[in-house]
Symmetry: C2
Subunit: 184 residues, 2 copies
DNA sequence: TCAAATATGTTTTGACTCGATACTATTAAA
DNA sequence: TTTAATAGTATCGAGTCAAAACATATTTGA
């Protein structure tokens, strides 16, 4: 059974990677670079660093550093030094980066395939994969990476939404993003 | 929605790849080489060629040829010339190849994660991913790769099970394997 | 019948990925 | 104030990958 699930996920991932390779051809972007760019477009301001990308992709920081350099050279991201901690550099997706992602991510044929499932099936698949991923992340002991508003540190106070870790106020857009400190 | 599904599959695949990398360390096997070996252990005698592996992994035949050379050098597979068509070479997994796969494929932590789902959830996930993969393969126009016994060419005659394409008799083990001619 | 087209597969080349290691700079801790 | 930890970059070598050229074997078709 886990055999079959393993096989299915591998094959879906192979197809995705293949389509991603084609979509990235126009800008000369490799699959892994597109994944990094996509992640940066979905994460919040606590999670837009080289190290966060490293944990998310499951690679080493040296490797990721190189991929990010490519994205910067192509003006798809820009670097912003952190105000308080000068070791940290924030990575922000530029407008042309957003434009590229809007066209290519998720790949068109994948979206078509998803649309051929019923709405109920789509929801069901999402829930189940989410459970599986959570289990897997727990077993491997990795950073969970979840959506801010579902996090146990997320506090809805009379003065607005707040993060219980940083004590900063969060906007309605903020809480939709992915955070590396996510915990349940 | 397809955004979320895309993201989930990518992340599961990243974790799998990472674990695969670790598991392959003992034999010096790269993730893609392990995937090829795993495929060869699950496919039938019509689908154990360089070209079939190429289609399955979605790479080019030159690339795959190199990965297979590594597997052969490590005595995890052997080559068998086809009797009828001398262009074709069949790739068979050796005993040590099978032993390696039994230990590492699917990765242990992934299996643990799957076991934390209920039996019903596991079945449900499998069915949904199977549907999604089928849709995706259809949209991309790729070879489907399905299990022999579910194929429209599979014929259950009084003289035994037969393939309607090759007209060869199939054993009970044969029909459990993956075939590149699979069609519904 | 026999040349042209097609199919299976290998080899080579160059761009890129990746982990490992060593390195710099900044911050935290003892 | 040393010492350790954190964030990140640079370099190296092994390996992936697509593309192209190549070698054989089979099929097609005039």
């Amino acid at each position: 059974m886990n055999d079959e699930l393993f096989n299915l996920i591998e094959r879906l991932a192979n197809l995705l990677r293949q389509e991603t390779r084609l979509e990235g051809l126009s800008l000369g972007l490799q699959p892994i670079q597109q994944e990094a760019l996509y992640y940066l477009s979905t994460c919040n301001r606590y999670s837009d660093t080289t190290l966060a990308v490293t944990e998310f992709l499951g690679l080493t920081k040296g490797t990721v550093s190189q991929s990010l350099k490519v994205l910067e050279n192509k003006s798809l991201i820009i670097r912003q030094k952190d105000e308080k901690d000068k070791r940290i550099t924030h990575l922000k997706v530029t407008n042309s980066g957003q434009a590229f992602l809007a066209k290519t991510c998720p790949p068109q044929k994948f979206s078509s395939a998803v649309k051929n499932l019923s709405t109920h099936e789509q929801d069901e698949t999402k829930d189940l994969l989410y459970k599986l991923l959570n289990n897997y992340q727990e077993v491997t002991g990795r950073t969970a990476f979840g959506v801010c508003k579902n996090c146990k540190f997320n506090q809805n106070t009379p003065e607005g939404i707040r993060c219980g870790l940083t004590f900063e106020t969060l906007s309605l857009d903020d809480v939709k993003l992915i955070c590396k400190e996510y915990s349940t």
